[in-house]
């Protein structure tokens, strides 16, 4: 007796209590089973118990459910540390990050916020200090935008080369964000023309605060309540976050509870002693909001191995200053560069997928990518970037990264 006939014949006898069915809802699939007499009834089958059926065309499949599932064969996971968790860039395709794989950076954990009690307070240099509920925010004219979000501390290397794209720069992700334009709310409360900054404050245990120039609020800031078609995930700021296209992650304050309009920056801890970088000459750069242009090859990459023959080199490129206009790929350790194909649509301040077809001859070499954005900025090599910053590394570090292809097909990271 083979597996699938055993499976079929055993199911009708399986007796499942209502409690077991409900209690196991998170892991169980409800299966419609037909008896010999043709009568349908429901039974429960735990997903873990789903046998690998030799011929899925000979056994009824799982009926429609209330939530989609990821194939049990696919196990992409974020890589968490105490303070952040990284997107598995090497496991993804296209440019939208699945919401549950979006990177995280929290300053004291993810809070649980009741959307029914949620309020956004806007006060300070305004005509009418106001409070908005979540339901009210959703009633305002809405806007959606696909854009990347990247932590400014998104670079790591490894001397032994054994490091994945997720570890190198997995603190970048992309979503379609939906919400109300901040300019709409500014209009509603009446901003004092003398206002030049606003404070954004989160309702998390860090009561996260950043000062934002008022122009960004008028230009393209979104008070976002949705991500990829559904409510924002708790890890991304549920129920409401600030979204500032192209700007460093931490200023996109999550769990947003308050905006205070002012005529100066507040000099919070995060914008003084934290998210600032040494640039040489003893100077420290502050209010460095914009993410500079960056690209990374996500395939091939460590820990993958390649075989001789045709390889489609794939990756993503992005810039906080506008659109990516070009990605160049080198397969000879930077001696020559060729344009990669960019996947349409190329969006403003968004991850852009690139690809370059290459025939590997089995010899040791290095493959690299570098991007140019619409302002004419070319992604620098690590040495170039360090030289420009007085030998320092730190936040806003966006160097070209190389993959060293070994003769045995092993792919190792290499700093440039």
């Amino acid at each position: 007796m083979n597996n699938d006939t055993e499976h079929k014949s055993s199911l009708p006898e399986r007796k499942i209590s209502r409690r077991a069915l409900l209690g196991g809802a998170a892991t169980a699939a409800v299966v419609l089973v037909q008896t010999a007499s043709g009568k349908s009834f429901q039974t429960g089958l735990a997903r873990a118990e789903l046998p690998l059926i030799e011929d899925p065309t000979k056994v009824p499949g799982v009926p429609p459910g209330t939530l989609g599932t990821r194939s049990p064969f696919e196990k992409p996971v974020k890589a968490p540390s105490d303070i952040s968790s990284r997107t598995p860039l090497q496991d993804l395709f296209g440019t939208i990050t699945p919401s549950d794989l979006h990177f995280e950076r929290n300053h004291n954990g993810v809070p649980a916020i009741d959307p029914a009690k949620y309020e956004l307070v806007i006060h300070g240099m305004v005509k009418k200090p106001m409070v908005f509920t979540l339901a009210e925010l959703k009633r305002f004219p809405s806007v959606s935008r696909i854009a990347f979000l990247e932590c400014s501390g998104n670079y790591r290397g490894a001397a032994d080369g054994k490091i994945t794209p997720q570890q190198i720069c997995g603190l970048t992700s992309q979503s379609e964000w939906t919400g109300v334009k901040l300019s709409t709310l500014f209009r509603e409360v009446g901003i004092d023309p003398k206002a030049s900054w606003f404070l954004a404050e989160g309702g998390d245990a860090a009561v996260m605060t950043r000062s934002v120039p008022i122009e960004k609020g008028w230009e393209d800031a979104i008070i976002a309540y949705a991500q990829n078609g559904e409510a924002i995930r708790p890890e991304q700021g549920y129920p409401v976050r600030l979204f500032l296209p192209g700007w460093e992650g931490n200023i996109n304050v999550k769990w947003l509870r308050r905006l205070e309009i002012a005529d100066q920056p507040f000099q919070t801890r995060q914008e003084t002693s934290k998210y600032t970088e040494a640039i040489g000459g003893g100077k420290i750069r502050q209010f460095s909001f914009t993410i500079d242009a960056r690209s990374v090859i996500t395939y091939p990459s460590f820990p993958g191995k390649v075989e001789k023959g045709w390889i489609e080199i794939r990756g993503i490129a992005w810039s906080g200053r506008g659109k990516v206009v070009r990605v160049e790929v080198s397969t000879d350790a930077g001696k020559s560069w060729f344009p990669a194909a960019l996947q349409d649509p190329v969006l403003d301040k968004a991850h852009t997928a690139f690809r370059y077809l290459w025939k590997w001859d089995g010899q040791s070499t290095e493959i690299l990518s570098r991007t140019v954005d619409e302002t004419g900025y070319t992604q620098p090599f690590l040495k170039e970037l360090m030289a420009a910053r007085g030998g320092n590394m730190g936040y806003h570090f966006n160097p070209v990264t190389a993959w060293h292809i070994q003769p045995d097909g092993q792919v190792l990271f290499k700093a440039t």
Partner: protein, 199 residues
């Protein structure tokens, strides 16, 4: 009986609106502007915030001292609060860790270690931020649990440990903004701009 009449009328109206172009604008411009052209002065959503509810949330402190509460702190009292509530994460004297170092470690000799070292005494440009941040986010395991008195005392203690104030100096809304921070003049606003230059 009324419904079938109204629905087609609305459909016609929607279609006609979407095809109207605004004089003097190209299609893309008019498509964007059309978004806000018919907006009312106010959508009538939300309610007025009360002074009381704003005061509950608005604890931020600016470099000029605006936002600092009544009260005053001294280092000697702060030392006791620090030992009880802070030393577990920041070390007995603020240099040992395991979490962020708060006090300049004068024993460091390695230039790289000195460069990485971001303490109140060498990397915080404003003394007011110390008060704001302790009150808002510390202690890490019991954020927001300290009284203003404890925050003032801790601020005085940490400034003194960093050699920035005398032991007897009273820290209050007037004196805190006046504390001279060694890192103040190191900070420069973003010097990067659009274009080819790598900075």
């Amino acid at each position: 009986m009324i419904k079938p009449v109204i629905v087609p009328a609305m459909v016609i109206l929607l279609f006609s609106v979407s095809f109207i172009s605004i004089p003097g604008m190209n299609y893309a411009e008019s498509r964007q502007k059309a978004d806000t052209l018919n907006w009312p002065a106010s959508f009538g959503l939300g309610r007025a915030a009360t002074v009381k509810e704003i005061a509950l949330l608005d604890t931020d402190v600016r470099p000029d001292g605006k936002g600092l509460p009544e009260g005053a702190g001294v280092s000697a009292r702060g030392k006791l609060v620090y030992a009880e509530k802070c030393s577990g994460c920041h070390g007995a004297t603020g240099v040992e860790g395991p979490n962020d170092q708060l006090v300049v470690n004068k024993t460091l000799t390695d230039p790289k270690a000195i460069a990485r070292h971001k303490t109140i005494g060498n990397y915080w440009p404003y003394a007011t931020t110390v008060f704001d941040y302790i009150k808002r986010a510390m202690p890490f395991n019991q954020p927001g649990s300290l009284t203003d008195q404890e925050v003032y005392d801790l601020t005085a203690f940490l400034l003194h440990e960093n050699g920035l104030i005398k032991p007897e100096q009273v820290i209050n809304a007037k004196t805190l903004p006046e504390v001279v921070m060694p890192a103040h003049d190191l900070f420069v606003p973003d010097d990067r701009k659009d274009g080819p230059e790598v900075r």
